[in-house]
Amino acid sequence: MTNNTTQTLLEVRNLKTYFFTDDGVVKAVDGVDFIVNSGEILGLVGESGCGKSVTSFSILQLIDDPGRIVEGEIYFKDRDLLKLSEPEMVGMRGNLISMIFQQPQSSLNPVFTVGAQIAEVFEIHKDIDKKEAWDEAVKLLKLVGIADAEEKAKSYPHEMSGGQAQRVMIAMALALKPELLIADEPTTALDVTIQAQILDLILGLRDKMGTSVILITHDLGLIAETADRVAVMYAGQIIEQSDIESIFENPMHPYTQGLIASVPILGQVREELKVIPGSVPNLVNMPPGCRFAPRCLAKEEYTLEICNRLEPDLDKFRDAHTVRCWLYQDGENHVAPMKARE
């Protein structure tokens, strides 16, 4: 499928989703901006607790108590989803925007057959009767590569393997040919050989339907092999965003650099892996200044003192490559040491 001009399908601006717990306010997502162009796959990458899943749930407004979206705009085709009424938003879910999850088996309701669960999507959004919906469900099961679809439609989630269950979830999510699919770690719970099958399936169906995808994962390899653009998250913020080549060949943020260097790569034996010291800061008590500063080796190298005081912005650097780092930005009394701006 082709897009003559790149169109923005989804734009998230300054999204903040906080969790109001007994231990304090957890700022799981704290000022996230990114865009998804129609027809592209955006990889959202980061370590556990960085807020990538919360970001995706925020788009569909599936945040449970005690979480709340406190600020921001989410434009989907020029309509702010956060300003929609509840029935309007419900009409979007599963229809124009749908989602698949990390644990396929627990994401299916154990007391209904998988066929009924897929058919339900049609019953909700399309005015068709039960029989037709069921037939559609069986067709979809065939489409996602489930052999013996008529019989399998009558089985229950516990009778399926993880890979099959994820196929069912994909069938359900793509039933109405949505414009945006959010895939939240869709293969993390699966074995590698099954992961390859599922990825193959998602990519194949996407090519057929032209759906845009947000692929959320912690696996850099997965991103490299599937995504068109990447957004890297750290401690509730996007710290770097660019097209796929640029980020792997020329990572700019010290965190991205460290992340790429710390992964063992098949066929590339290194004596010692590079290490990012320390661990992710507490989301209740964020350090002032740059959130990565306490672990940042570049900050030490260039003896940047501004990092501990002021938070850098997510600035456009080269073409569409944006990065949130003082190494490349001038601030009050701070001159970027790498002179990277020219």
Partner: protein, 336 residues
């Protein structure tokens, strides 16, 4: 089985021969045993002193069971484990307790592997207390020494597991295994529950400790890249059996078993625009309850022929590289 000789130059520390572990499956009205899960089915290998053997495979292939059975955390169904000439599986009581000083284990789940009620210093000291080693002062010294080895500070000893991050907890687990000064450690998926940047910390620690303390590892994992990084030799398991085993560089440059090949091609590599020829296996991993006849891999194998469905391939050395062993009808070994 043919797995007996390893590198002559190095000294063999542990040998596992024909290890079998079946779990009973009960069912029917009276919950009688109606079948067996063949979790580990005739597995043999040996590990030399100071070596790391990587044991890799998908979930349910029996790799964790191998590790636990070697340490007698699970009773073996049959087979033998010889450690420095002693048959480990027949040990009981005081002898077993003594053997436990030499063989240790680090677990997968850093959250579950520490007693939540104990300050971590106590957890690390548990082994030396059980074995009544040294007096109180010496114990404290030993605990602190091992905490430092894994990058923890003195004052951490009085803290509780919930006050640490996942990576730190895994390091505590390593320190606990080290206090008894073992020669051999089973590392049961030690980094699979950790974030990538933390994985590297733990992997580096494990490597450095091995050099410093001349440890021997059995490294169990499902991540091929991690196994490649840390192992000297690698064994690939599929449904309770070893499919292929070879020195690391040999295995990764010249994989023979179609399963190994598929596994390697399925792993995404963080380098964009590198279009690879992918082998995508069809179907799910069969249940070890009813493993397929013949070669266990044949229903998913892209090159399977008739023979594969009724004749089980033996694990044999390659003609060109005797240290490289494969259990497949269609490798050069078959024509040997």
């Amino acid at each position: 089985m043919s797995e007996t000789s390893i590198d002559n130059k190095t000294e063999e520390l542990i040998r596992v021969q024909n290890l079998v572990k079946y779990y009973p499956v009960t069912g029917g009205v009276f919950r009688r045993e109606i079948a067996q899960v063949k979790a580990v089915d005739d597995v043999s290998f040996s590990i030399a002193k100071g070596e790391t053997l990587g044991l890799v495979g998908e979930s349910g292939c029996g790799k964790t069971t191998v590790g636990h059975t070697i340490l007698q955390l699970l009773p073996a169904t049959s087979g033998s484990v010889t450690f420095e000439g002693t048959d480990v599986l027949s040990l009981k009581g005081a002898e077993l307790k003594e053997m436990r000083r030499k063989m240790q284990i680090v677990f997968q789940d850093p959250y579950a592997s520490l007693d939540p009620r104990l300050p971590i210093g106590e957890s690390i000291a548990e082994g030396i207390k059980i074995h009544k080693m040294g007096n109180a002062d010496e114990r404290v010294d030993r605990v602190i020494e091992n905490m430092r080895r894994v990058g923890l500070e003195n004052y951490h000893a009085n803290r509780y597991p919930h006050e640490f991050s996942g990576g730190q907890r895994q390091r505590i687990g390593i320190a606990r295994a080290l206090t008894l000064q073992p020669k051999f450690i089973v590392l049961d998926e030690p980094v699979s529950a950790l974030d990538v940047s933390i994985q590297a910390q733990v992997l580096n620690i494990l490597r450095n400790l091995q050099k410093e303390l001349e440890l021997t590892y059995l490294f169990v994992a499902h991540n091929l890249a991690v196994v490649e990084h840390i192992s000297d030799r690698v064994a690939v398991m599929y449904l309770g059996k070893i499919a292929e085993m070879a020195p690391r560089d040999e295995l990764f440059s010249n994989p023979q078993h179609p399963y190994t090949q598929a596994l390697m091609s399925a792993i995404p590599i963080p380098k964009p625009n590198r279009k690879r020829e992918r082998v995508i296996l069809s179907g799910d991993v069969p249940s070890p309850l009813n493993p397929p006849n013949g070669c266990r891999f044949h229903p998913r194998c892209p090159i399977a022929k008739d023979i594969c469905s009724h004749e089980e391939p033996e694990i044999k050395s390659l003609v060109s590289e005797p240290k490289h062993k494969v259990a497949c009808h269609f490798t050069e070994a078959a024509t040997q």
